[in-house]
Amino acid sequence: MQAPGALGPGERTLLDRLTPDLGSPQANWARNAGVLRDEMASGAPIRDASVNPVTGDLENDTGFLRAERYLLQDRGRTYDPKTTFWSPP
């Protein structure tokens, strides 16, 4: 995600808000979930970067990624494989 070109026009990364590693999965998840909730509150669409590049299908549905997706859908967001965005209700 930090590679040149990884971000599309108008997009920005949340990396600067997710450092450093806090030393445990629990602490990192609490921080990540908080950042994700903040972003959802802003109402902006969120692009899912872990998708099949051809079909847009969701991939690697394990660990934090699964939990983040669950949080998104639990807040009423819906995923569109055509755009690969999670859109607000």
């Binding site: 108008g10 997710l18 970067a49 872990s50 051809v54 549905d61 660990g63």
Partner: protein, 217 residues
């Protein structure tokens, strides 16, 4: 694209992650990729190691935030005139031809040095035993993985949508809002191919349809 669009969060690895010895564990267990399949090591970081051959690549990672250990195997494909990566998790590769529980496959997460070495060795063993066709870049196997991924993704999205519709139907049932009950269960039946209504839901749907019909007589 809106300037307010956001990306999914990621976590940078901390400086002390190298002390867990992830890179050394991967080098010790994944050497077969070079010996048997002609891969070369192209990237080594405290939480990420990558191998590439002419047609395929292997990512071994230790989740920066989740501490989850995993393997991805992928290929490069041309999309809109550019080469992009199409990759699949080791579990999906194994699931193509095997029952994951019979294999004993499971997800691993650890922040300990000793279990990390054991888990990486187990992932390497599964990669070697079950990954040969994708490691060799067999196009048909990659196409099957894409089709399997589409089915899994659709089932997951439909499962979530069904959860919401079931909650709406349940709430409508308590309010005796028969039209909404029919809408919600009807949407599941008509649009969610991977979801089947339960017997009790079918009974509610029939009852709601009968009440609507009775009201219109």
């Amino acid at each position: 694209m809106s300037p307010r669009e956001r990306k999914m969060p990621k976590t940078m690895s901390g400086h002390d992650r190298s002390q867990l010895g992830f890179v050394q564990a991967v080098e010790a267990s994944f050497g077969f990729l070079a010996r048997e399949f002609g891969f070369r090591l192209v990237d080594m970081q405290p939480t990420f190691v990558r191998y590439e051959s002419e047609r395929t690549f292997v990512n071994v990672f230790h989740g920066r935030g989740s501490y989850e250990l995993g393997v991805e195997i992928g290929r490069w494909i041309e999309l809109d005139g550019a080469l992009v990566e199409e990759k699949f998790a080791l579990g999906d590769v194994i699931a193509l031809d095997h029952d994951l529980s019979a294999v004993g496959y499971r997800s691993y997460a650890t922040s300990g040095k000793e279990p990390l070495v054991r888990f990486v060795a187990q992932l390497a063993d599964w990669t070697q035993r079950f990954g040969s066709r994708v490691l060799e870049g067999d196009p048909a196997t990659f196409d099957s993985l894409r089709a399997q991924g589409a089915r899994l993704s659709q089932a997951m999205l439909e499962g979530w949508r069904a959860e919401r519709l079931r909650a709406a139907a349940d709430s409508a049932w308590r309010r005796k809002d028969w039209g909404r009950v029919i809408d919600a269960y009807g949407e599941i039946e008509a649009e969610l191919g991977s979801i089947e209504l339960k017997r009790s839901e079918r009974a509610r749907l029939s009852y709601a349809q009968k009440r609507i019909n009775d009201d219109h007589r």
